[in-house]
Symmetry: C3
Subunit: 264 residues, 3 copies
């Protein structure tokens, strides 16, 4: 698709987001999250609010069963410990052999060479999508995030890449989206990016085109942030209001608020 006006791009993105949210609420996909202990509860609540069913175990004995009955998997690298690393390896064998989608969130990879090395290995395990922020992208790719560097990274790894921040950029190498929704308070809530990655994994469970799925999830998440900001009195109440907002998000609100450009 080439969408030649901002209004058409916004309408198209709103259609993606509205359709993905409708399917999540109808199908209730199971999303197994191997995520950090800081993010677990907020991530689970965000998935439940969207209609998905989260699970979070890291036990090597159990991970096969949980991933086997899941529809998508999230791998988030925060608070890695020995058992969590082992669980990731087992989970990726199961998810890849079943052809199910998984999302990599290489959180704070710029803070640790060990984590960066592990993330680089995981990029070879065929994530369907990678969601990360500007600093994390720079650490993993060696480049500042631009339309070209993001598209190049997507091609190299065969994944849809979403770099979020002031303006969220999504690319599968060929197509690209720029989404300008969200609220500054999102940066003041721990696990906000992690929860967004989890929503992306849920979206991949209900939409076969990964570019559409990722774009839909990122756009819906940003709009939920904007709605939350309308009633929040600070970052504490904002975090709670985000969950409420995502749960109630409707097509009219998406259509009214999404600011996007699409190309490719």
């Amino acid at each position: 698709v080439i969408v030649d006006t901002a209004a058409k791009a916004a309408a198209q993105t709103a259609e993606y987001a509205g359709e993905v949210l409708a399917r999540l609420r109808k199908r209730a996909p199971r999303v197994h999250c191997l995520t950090n202990t800081v993010a677990q509860a907020y991530t689970a609540n965000m998935l439940l609010a969207a209609g998905a069913v989260p699970s979070m175990t890291v036990s090597p004995e159990e991970i096969g069963g949980f991933v086997g009955s899941a529809d998508a998997v999230l791998i988030n690298l925060g608070t890695l410990d020995t058992e969590r690393r082992a669980a990731i390896a087992i989970a990726l064998d199961a998810v890849n052999s079943a052809g199910k989608p998984w999302v990599l969130d290489p959180v704070m990879v710029e803070r640790s060479a060990s984590r960066a090395g592990f993330a680089a290995e995981l990029l070879h395990r065929m994530p369907r999508a990678v969601r990360l922020n500007t600093g994390e992208f720079a650490a993993l790719s060696g480049n500042d995030p631009t339309d070209d560097s993001i598209a190049g990274f997507a091609v190299t790894h065969g994944a849809v890449v979403a770099v979020t921040g002031q303006g969220d950029r999504v690319s599968d190498g060929r197509r690209r989206a720029l989404i300008e929704n969200g609220d500054p308070a999102m940066a003041l809530v721990t696990a906000m990016g992690c929860a967004g990655s989890a929503l992306t994994a849920a979206a991949l469970a209900v939409e076969v085109d990964p570019f559409v799925a990722v774009t839909a999830a990122i756009a819906a998440f940003g709009v939920a942030g904007e709605v939350a900001a309308l009633s929040a009195r600070g970052p504490g109440s904002f975090a709670i209001a985000m969950i409420d907002a995502l749960h109630h998000l409707d097509r009219a609100t998406l259509a009214a608020r999404i600011k996007a450009s699409l190309a490719g």
Copy 2:
């Protein structure tokens, strides 16, 4: 007891719940929770709101000390890892040799054969109560939950069994309760069942009749959900309002809201 009218059963259940809440607030029992990392914070806050004192360590070196000074123990099987399994074994030795009550919550046992096997072992370690949902009961017992299958499971394991869902059923084999409180939003909050199991453990610390304790805890929890729903704007604010509601729950509200039948 045989309570022959719905009004009398509701009044009796409200009396149980009011009395248990009053004792929790007065005695501040210590409840040690070996629970999953997703549920820990919400569970601890729910216990504190009810008047109990939670602790959560999983360290094998420390578990003896904590269980030794606790009044009840919760064992929840979410996010099991190697150390958590070892901690459970040590904790159950300590709690059973001291004759203290403990509650088993075999969360998501239907998703993993390994977890189901571990739960089956724990059922032989004499839990005072087992709280689980419909799917978990079916996985552990091999039967759909009916009055008879729940009572049979209770007899087999010498425990009070509470199967929660649309209508919460409690039985000790001889007596049974059906409680029809709660709100659909409870299913949209992670760790809600886990927190209910923790409240059940707290109730067992202050009420010697385990059927009364479990019935009281389940009924009070459901009413707190109804009160929370009055002010919530979605599952995020509902989760917070549940804690507020449980903290302030009084006998008048219990009496006005509880819907229950009792038999046996």
Copy 3:
């Protein structure tokens, strides 16, 4: 300093707190928290609300990288496990060799001889501050907390000591502060003390005088609790309102609310 009137002491303490909060918002120090899994999310959100940047990994491979790029470290002894103990050892080597400040929070040390022994070892690793409650102080020091016993403990360990409860007492051995802010609801929220310790660590990252840093953090935290109580409807909404309140806390509110005495 010797501040001879309550009004002057309050004004001085408000100046400390206002200055520390202003620096946190401007400098965004990184605080690495080795804290229990119950407290992680609330602690991270409190730090973000104050302007600091939290990280929480416990992986031995990663801890060096994270501590190396952090400005202060928090060591909290809740939910210790084997890997967490190993991570603490590595973290303290890194933080002490770099001369960075770290805070010890020996949470619930009175409940486990093993934990008390580990805390005693850590006191020899030169924490810049120790924050604990009355029972924890008694378990570690062998004394009830009085002005003299707290000052003596501070001298023995070369650390600023803050004993919080009904009246928070801070001493570096020579100087002492008594802060009478806060709200009873703070005792009904899990991880509240842990989050206060994290704020203390953040304060040490931006203020070289540890007595001033600790006094500022404890006073600001108490005032945030008072502001939160104005709008809270129970312990659930109180916990959220605390985050909002800390985020917006200004010099005028600090000056109007702080009750303190200073001596030494």
